[in-house]
Symmetry: C2
Amino acid sequence: MVKRVSLSDAECPMARSLDGIGDWWSLLIVRDAFDGVRRFGEFQKSLGISKGILARRLQGLVALGVLTMTSASDGSAWQDYVLTSKGEALFPVIVALRQWGEAFCYRPGEPHSELVDRKKGKSLAPLVVRDADGEIIQMRDTVVKKLALSSKDY
Amino acid sequence: MVKRVSLSDAECPMARSLDGIGDWWSLLIVRDAFDGVRRFGEFQKSLGISKGILARRLQGLVALGVLTMTSASDGSAWQDYVLTSKGEALFPVIVALRQWGEAFCYRPGEPHSELVDRKKGKSLAPLVVRDADGEIIQMRDTVVKKLALSSKDY
DNA sequence: CAGGATCCAATACGATACTG
DNA sequence: CAGTATCGTATTGGATCCTG
């Protein structure tokens, strides 16, 4: 959008992610899809988004391979939008954003919805970042390694 | 932006998060801040963003409490932008987006930068979502519990 | 160099009307 | 109901010029 410096060919994976789903609606659509929303009208009602933008976003997510269209489960003439495995892989992203919002975007006591596990009904554990050996690490323990090597890096 | 339905008073923490940092540049600025970028000019060069937008985004992140301005480390008259604890708490979000990008936004063999731990130089472990007892759970094991109760919830 | 001010193109988004 | 088409407006974001 607004064709800025193209992020789509960036060497940073985060930039590529954002290039595809980094707008205001896509991740909210994905969140709804996680919650079981499948139909155009359900998305529209849930999000309060205009029809035109919703249609474009759904198209974009389908084109990206995050959602796929299947014949409607209720036998109607229309399509259902369901998450692909690529879409389901956004689960940690959703959880991370939600947990950050819970922790930093509400005043104390202000109510908000909660993501709980279905069996126990309890909140999830905070996401933690671990190294290859499973040890918990902090931001300061990491560094970005650039690979400019395009073919055989030996 | 484009004053759509305000997400800032949403009951969904994810919507609130996106309301603050859900644009195209904010998370990339935060990523750079994680990588040690502090100065206006460094951000601009690293991101290829125009000065006007960068200034506005930095202001927004400062207003949000994600960044803070400190007197420049090199003694110049200007300010450094550094992450607050609220900003540092975005670490799992950054990692989640990066890992998703690595896994799904590159063709096989296509090079990209890599986030490694400083000591061992190895890639991080994939983020996993766990329940309150530390057990790994999937998307399908969770459900959103809405709390509409605004004061005493019984 | 760090920003602010201004101008302009592209577009994101909402509202509405239209179609099958 | 599921979209598409059109229109108006607000905002983005780049480029340029200006200042301390």
